[in-house]
Amino acid sequence: MSATSGSAARRRIGTSVKYLFLAVVIASVLFPAVVVAATSLKPAGEVYSSPPGWLPAHLQWSNYITMFRQVPLGHAFLNSVLVAGGATVVVLVCALPAGYALARFSFPGRRAVLFSTLAIIMFSPITVVIALFQLFSDYGLVDQWYAASLADAAFTLPFCLWIMTGYFQTIPRDLDEAARMDGASMGRVFFEILLPLTLPGIATVLIFAFVQAWNDFLIASILLTNQSGYPLTVAMFDFVGQHGVQWQYVSGAVLLSSIPVLVLFLFVQRFLVRGLTVGAVK
């Protein structure tokens, strides 16, 4: 009797500890998000009180309009769209046919390509930025948004190609062979049978490539040296470094720039995790 109530009590303590732990971690992970949201709606007087209060006493929604005059948002937003959009297109143009080739053909060098892809997934731009800058200057590519797109694409490609190859491999070969028997050309098989079936994979790669480029800071800060060409991340860093930075506008801008990619990312979370742990999670 006492043993059962003892274990029940222990279980109840265990459950409380579990929730407490979960709450603490989630609270700490969300702490900056709460500060951003609260600060973005505070009047200047409340932002610059020491120490600051948690929630705005007075909600100043007009911050979200004033902000656009203070932070170079519009222009930087456009640059981010160009750079990230360009990178996404480049990644798709490269990864789709390459993934198809690696999944459907056997040819000398296939293993070497797969192996190299895996080996450079973890490759970081920092090891080549200096040379990349010199190389791109030699060809007059510095300060061109598409140069940043190309560089972003190159660093994202290995992972995207890996995911894409995996996706093509999940589609039974019999399917395209049957279509070929019926006289469909290779192009038709690719566009009308394989592409529609790999749409989740394509969406994953597309969103991953876009978000990576959208969030990139290092490549953009090296290749885009002109203020008018700054994407959001670099523009925001630049803005914060200036004197008399107005945190309520920075907060609003950070929030607005993060929400779209956050939504996109949550959509493909499951597929990305599977891709990153290839082989380890069965």
Binding site: A33, P51, A154
Partner: protein, 292 residues
């Protein structure tokens, strides 16, 4: 015959865009970095000839170099060691059934999608000596710290960047570990439970061995990410104060693009490259699939 010949070249044609991109943006710069590391390059970026190991010697005789290597090690190890157990615990909780599980999972994962630049920018504000919320938070516990330059003192600055690093590592590690836990067959757990296995013992003897491969990959990927991470330190402290938060990665940037010492910067890049190659080798070993 012609058809056959054309078909043989087809896969290579499909690979061509990828190969061109990777060669142009990765391989050529890697070669260029290797050459630059052994060359004398002036402040304008003009190469004036090979100089042997002069760049490396200049690095190794600089007292800053061992300090930066030590900090890079502390940065990488501290974040991994703190974030991994927390993430495993979190994944175990998120793998149980409870109300609000779906939203909790989304909340835990969400920060990974946000640019580290923005998170770091916000932490810079949170740690502001006068207007930051960090002081407000400590104030809740009766600790009054208004005016403390958290990012202006070497120790607290290093702790701060590491803490933010931990915070940004947890989402990824947790999600991957959770995926590993979900792949553990329910009947294995059920059988262990029938044998009287519970709590910590169940975790240590049954769950942990089953998710070890996932944990290994997750930890390795983490180490690489953290080692490579640039924006957290750069945005919060730019390596300061007095180089106390400088890591190899921010130092490469500073030597190359702030001091314009391209030769030494390239030598540093080569060192970073060699370290990364080692980790990449492990990554390939861990993840390479059967069909290789």
């Amino acid at each position: 015959m012609f058809r056959a010949g054309r078909r043989h070249s087809l896969p290579y044609l499909f690979l061509l865009p990828s190969i061109l991109l990777v060669v142009g943006v990765l391989f050529i710069p890697v070669l260029k970095t290797l050459i630059s590391a052994f060359s004398d390059i002036n402040q304008l970026g003009q190469t004036t000839g090979f100089n042997g190991v002069t760049n490396f010697r200049a690095l190794f005789t600089d007292p800053l170099f061992p300090q930066i290597m030590r900090q890079t090690l502390i940065w990488t190890v501290a974040i991994t060691v703190v974030a991994t157990p927390v993430s495993i615990g979190l994944a175990l909780v998120l793998n149980t059934r409870f109300r609000g599980r779906t939203i909790s999972r989304a909340l835990v994962f969400a920060p990974w999608a946000v640019s580290f630049v923005y998170v770091a920018i916000m932490w810079r504000f949170i740690l502001d000596p006068f207007y930051g919320h960090w002081n407000s938070l400590l104030g809740v516990f009766g600790i009054h710290t208004t005016g403390t330059p958290w990012l202006g003192k070497p120790t607290s600055a290093l702790v701060a960047v590491i803490a933010v690093g931990v915070q940004l590592t947890i989402p990824f590690t947790t999600t991957v570990t959770l995926a590993g836990l979900q792949s553990v067959p329910a009947d294995v757990i059920e059988a262990a439970r029938m044998d009287g296995s519970r709590g910590w013992r169940m975790f240590k003897d049954i769950t942990l061995p089953l998710i070890r491969p996932v944990l290994a990959v997750a930890t390795l990927v983490n180490i690489i990410y953290i080692f490579n991470s640039f924006p957290i330190v750069w945005v919060m402290t730019q390596g300061g104060p007095a180089s106390s938060t400088e890591t190899l990665v921010t130092y490469v940037y500073k030597v190359g693009f702030v001091n314009n010492q391209y030769g030494e910067g390239a030598a540093l890049s080569v060192i970073a490259f060699v370290i990364l190659m080692f980790f990449s080798f492990l990554y390939v070993r861990f993840t390479a699939r059967e069909e290789f």
